[in-house]
Structure formats: structure tokens, C-alpha cells
């Protein structure tokens, strides 16, 4: 019996020792250095980056360059790219005071949730100095990355637009050369709607449609948070007319997300859409180009206005490696850092002076430059409980489009939602 007892205990002990010796494997295991070896924490130019880019084929090249030029050793941890999962994980890390991660990449939804929570360090004195700040999109920085106290806490890593894309063949067929005004746009929509094809395609699924509602609200000079504003009402009425009065867009797209909308656009069902990014889907389908699908400037309704989005690098307040983290942030905010993002990840530089650099080339540069110089650039309207607010607004809009509620009821309920979530 003693023999078996000893064997069992020895076996258990061996397994425990074996497993205790294990830790996070792979090249990204550096985070262990911060969490398990307090002697090294804060004593070296070494940080841990929580990144969504680790599965990009060019990540290693970007990392090598970042380490060389910032002088900081960068350990990395792969962040979930699935949005709900990522938000839960990052919320947990930040709210628990976890110091194993120094720098995190966050998107607009997370920026809205975190900017007043006190979990992130302000960067205006150390990284986002005046000369850099003036090169960044002012509306976006104010809407998304500035806290109620006026602290700026994120370095945007690129600029992306929710831009208007048109099918040039349909534009030609409509006998038009450009879309400059609201009247041009309505004429274009009507001229290209025939035989089951529509002038406008949207992704009006309830969690997606708020991007388009807010785009039209801005174009009409309204305010997404004020539904007593006549211009906001007019914008939503315009969308209703597109679907129900002029019938230049189908109501059944209330089930569509971007995947479905893009495929229909590629298949020629739509003449124009609002879409993020630089047209990868269209390129993959051989439908991209000046004579096919391409980005155009926003038409001028009451004004020209466009939304931008970004992923931003932020500094965890609990970090024990702040000096090194700031060196890294100074690098990503620098010309070298932004150009590296463009070169390796196709991320269009957020800084206007860097995007003007001759190293940034391609057809996207021309239209981006035009958009930057002629549009009001904003961050999307988001409230701390972002997804709940987005979802409720989407549901209200779908009810209005399907004639389940009137415009007055929509505006009243939308205002209630704003006040509830604000």
C-alpha cells in the first residue's frame, strides 16, 4: 500500500512540476517577463503590446522595424479580432489594473467606452504634442479620443473613411460625369434604378445602419444627438424616400450587413454604396478601378461631411513600463511609424503631413487628399453603451422604414434613446 501511495504521490507531484514549468509559448511569450519577474518590470526598455495585427503576414516586418526605430523591445499578445470578445477581454484587463499589458490597440467603440473611465494615461504632454496634433483629423480626435476633462489618450494608427463608392459604368450610363450636389445625387439614384437594379445599396441591418443614418444626418447639417433638429429629421426622411417614395433602394436590405451589400454592389445590383476601407473586396472580384467601382468625394448636401474611423494605440494606466511605452507611442505617432503602417498594413496615414509624403502612393491617395481638404471629418456618434445605443437606433429606423412608426414617433423615440444612453 505504501508503495502505491508513494507512486501516486510521486506521479502527481511530477505532473504538477511539469505543468508548473510550462508557460505561454511561442514568440509572443514575452508578456511573461512582465508578469512573473518583477525584477525586470520597469527596468528595461521593454513593453507588451496587445495587438490585432499579429496574424497579418507583414506583422514581423513591422515589429522588427518598430523595435529598431523605437529602441524598445516589444513583446506582443494577440488580441481577439472578434469585436465582442475583444471588448470583454480589454475591459477586464484595464478594469482589473492588470499591468502585464502596456499598450493596447483599441477601436472607436472601445475608445468611447474607455475614454472617461480613468484606465488610460493622457498623452498630450508626452506623445501628442501640438505639432503632431495639428496634423491629425481634428473632428475625429475631439469626438473619439478626447476625454470629458480634455485629455487626449490615443494615437490613431491610420485614417479610414466611410466613403461613397460608385460604379463608373452606371455613372456613364446615367450620362453624368460627377456627383457634386444633393440634386446630382438624387438624379443619379433615379437614373440608375431600373430592371431590379438600384441607385443606392445599404447595409441596413440594425447594428450597421446607424453609420448610414449618421452620414446623412451630417450631410444635411443635422445632429445625431438632437432629433428635434429639422436637419436630422430631413436626413431620415430622405432615407425613407429613397426606399419608399423614389424606390431607389430596396427595403429588404434591412437584413444586409456589409458582406451582402458588397456582393450585390459587385454583382451590379447597386450603383452606389457607403463603405469603409480601400476596396479590397472589389479588387478581389476584379471590379476595382476608375472605369469600374471606385471611391468618389462626398456630395455637398448642406455641406460635405464624412466619417473616419481608426484603431488607436493607448497606454494602460497600470503599466509598469511607461517610459518605454511612451518611446513606442512616440515612434508610432512619428512619420516613420505612420509610414511603416502604410508600407506593411496598407493603413493610410492619419497624419496629413505624412499622407502627403511621396512614399504614400496609389490611386487612393488622390481621393483621400481631396476628401481631407473638402470635407468635415468626424468620428462616429457613439455613447458609452455603444452597442445598445446602435442597436436601438437601428431597430427604430427599421420600424420607420417599414411604416410601423411615423417620422414623429421615430424622432421622439430616437431622442429618448439618446437621453437614456448619454
Amino acid at each position: 500500500m505504501k508503495k502505491w501511495s508513494s507512486l501516486l504521490m510521486a506521479g502527481s507531484l511530477s505532473l504538477a512540476v511539469l505543468t508548473a514549468g510550462c508557460s505561454g509559448g511561442g514568440s509572443n511569450a514575452g508578456s511573461e517577463a512582465n508578469s512573473t519577474d518583477p525584477d525586470t518590470a520597469g527596468s528595461k526598455d521593454e513593453i507588451t503590446l496587445y495587438t490585432i495585427q499579429s496574424t497579418n503576414p507583414n506583422f514581423k516586418a513591422w515589429l522588427d522595424e518598430a523595435q529598431e526605430k523605437s529602441g524598445v523591445k516589444i513583446n506582443w499578445v494577440a488580441a481577439p479580432t472578434d469585436s465582442d470578445t475583444r471588448q470583454q477581454k480589454i475591459s477586464t484587463i484595464l478594469s482589473s489594473g492588470d499591468s502585464t499589458v502596456d499598450i493596447l490597440e483599441i477601436n472607436d467603440e472601445m475608445a468611447t467606452s474607455f475614454k472617461n473611465a480613468g484606465w488610460l494615461d493622457p498623452l498630450q504632454d508626452t506623445v501628442l504634442t501640438e505639432d503632431i496634433m495639428k496634423q491629425l483629423p481634428q473632428g475625429y480626435m475631439k469626438d473619439m479620443l478626447t476625454s470629458a476633462k480634455g485629455d487626449v489618450f490615443g494615437v490613431p494608427s491610420y485614417t479610414g473613411y466611410l466613403a461613397l463608392w460608385v460604379d463608373q459604368k452606371k455613372l456613364d450610363a446615367a450620362g453624368m460625369t460627377s456627383i457634386e450636389t444633393k440634386e446630382d445625387y438624387v438624379n443619379f439614384l433615379k437614373a440608375t434604378t431600373r430592371d431590379g437594379q438600384y441607385g443606392y445599396g445599404g447595409s441596413w441591418e440594425k447594428t450597421y445602419v446607424s453609420n448610414e443614418i449618421a452620414t446623412f444626418v451630417n450631410l444635411f447639417g443635422g445632429d445625431y444627438y438632437d432629433w428635434t433638429n429639422e436637419n436630422s429629421r430631413e436626413a431620415v426622411k430622405f432615407m425613407y424616400d429613397m426606399a419608399n417614395t423614389w424606390k431607389v433602394t430596396p427595403v429588404d436590405q434591412i437584413a444586409d450587413k456589409y458582406e451582402q451589400m458588397n456582393q450585390k454592389f459587385i454583382d451590379g445590383k447597386y450603383a452606389s454604396v457607403f463603405m469603409w476601407g480601400t476596396g479590397t473586396d472589389y479588387k478581389q472580384a476584379n471590379r476595382y478601378g476608375p472605369d469600374q467601382i471606385h471611391m468618389v468625394n462626398m456630395p455637398e448636401f448642406a455641406k460635405r461631411s464624412i466619417f473616419t474611423d481608426s484603431w488607436s494605440y493607448v497606454l494602460n494606466s497600470a503599466s509598469k513600463n511607461k517610459e518605454a511605452a511612451i518611446k513606442f507611442l512616440q515612434y508610432v505617432a512619428s512619420e516613420d511609424g505612420e509610414l511603416s503602417g502604410w508600407k506593411n498594413f496598407d493603413r493610410y496615414p492619419a497624419r496629413a503631413d505624412v499622407s502627403a509624403n511621396e512614399a504614400v502612393t496609389g490611386d487612393i491617395k488622390e481621393i483621400y487628399t481631396l476628401i481631407q481638404s473638402t470635407n468635415e471629418v468626424h468620428g462616429r456618434p457613439m455613447l458609452p453603451q455603444t452597442m445598445e445605443f446602435i442597436s436601438e437606433m437601428g431597430t427604430l429606423f427599421q420600424n420607420y422604414i417599414q411604416d410601423k412608426i411615423t417620422l414623429d414617433e421615430f424622432c421622439q423615440k430616437a431622442q429618448d434613446a439618446v437621453e437614456r444612453y448619454q
Partner: protein, 281 residues
Amino acid sequence: MTTQNPRPLPLTLLMWGLALIVAFLILFPLWWIFISSITPAGELFSKPIKYWPDHPTLASYRYLIENVGLLPKIWDTAIIVGLSILIGMIVSVMAAFSFARFRTRGLAVAVGFLLASMLIPDVVTARPLYDFLRSVHLYDTYTGLIILYISGILPFTILILQNYLNDIPVSIEESAAIDGCGFYQSLIYVTVPLLRPALATVCIVNFITCLNNFFTPLFYSNGISVLSTAITQLPLRDNMYAVPWDLVSAMGWIIIVPIIVFVAIFQRQIMEGIMAGGVKG
């Protein structure tokens, strides 16, 4: 001697028809995931729908291996799942034996606690457990994950083994004792061999449970990544809304295949073991 009446033809046809419908409902999504995984991204949403791609490719699988670290994830999964099942089985056998063979108030309370723990959703204990693991330096370690995996499979395993043990007569162990067997000898040479069908069943069920476990590795690790959470780490394309469905499908297929193979091979043992251990006579 009685002979069984043959089943009427319409009933047989109805049963076959139902079986085919159920099989289609289960197999078609699997087929769809597979062809999505070998379809180039640009063709994924083409119309009319294609049930076999024009240009089949293994590019998604290659991408997962080269850029998403598929092989290290398989290794991590194998270590965590393998050790969790092994250690979990040793602990479960000893616990089930104690619960089945000894009767004390304390043991009854322990069984009650163990079974009650099955009713607590993971998310309720997530945050305190997260803080605890960090404070004892077990966060994002194999050890920490294995402990959590084991704690997840113990209640079910003990329940099945205990019920199975209840049906094994104590007189067998008493006979072994009369023949000179010690306690551990009796347990290892007499009881455990009799438990073999139930052990096979819980091993298989636990393998599937561990492989499917999403919440634990997601919440309690960063650097260690297993197959079930790998699907959340696929790259975004072009913009934050562009889900790479080709890669998602390939990763989904990689996760599903071992489970399908396992169940196909061991389906009889799974059913027999559950029936034997889960139903009291």
C-alpha cells in the same frame, strides 16, 4: 419461441425518411463550412450559389499555418486537453470510489457541493477567479488552465463513475481483500478494470468538452492560445467589419474534424457508457 413481426413498410420508409432529413440538416452545414474553407475570398458570396467553388484552394489552411500559428495552437491544445483528462481521470476515479463506497455526512455534503457547482455559469465566477489567478501567478499558464479545465470536467466525470461503481458489487472487492489484496491493489487491479467502459466514455466526452471549451482559455490566458479560441484571432480584412469568412470556415473545420472522427469511432462506447453510468437500475 416468439418471432418478431417485421416492421410495416410505410413505417420503415417514414423512419428512413426522417433519418435522411436529420442527416441532411446536420451534414449540409458541415459541407457548407468545408466548401467555404476552400473557396477564394472573392467568390464566397457570389450568386447564383455554388456548391463547389470554381477555383478551389487550400490557401486559407496555408494562411492559418503560416500566419495564425496553427501548429503551436494544436500543441497547446494537446498539452492542456491531454493533461487535463489524465489528471482529471485519476482524481475522479478516487473521488467516485470514495463517494460510492463510503457513507458519511461530510461526503454527502461534498457530493452535493460538487454537483451544485455544475449549475453555476462560468461567467458568474469569471472576474473573482481572474483576479485570484493573477494573484497566485497562474494566469496565462498551462498550470492555471489545466486546473480550470479539470475543475470543469470533474463533476460530470465523478457523477458518471459513481453511478457506475454503485452497480459493481462490493463483494468483488471483499473477495479480493480475503485473497490478500491491499486497498490500492484492489482499486487498481480489481475496480478500475471493471470501470473500463465508463472510463472510456468519460474520456471521450471529456475530450470533446475540453476541445470545445471556449470561455476558459479565452478569459484566463493571453499568450497561450488553443484551437477553440483561435477563431477569434483571425485577421480583419480592409476594415473592422470585414469578417474573413474563408479563414473562419477553415478554422471551424479544423476544430470540428477531430470531434467528428472521435465520435464516429467511439459512438457506441459513448452511448453505452452514458446509459450504464447515467441511469440507476
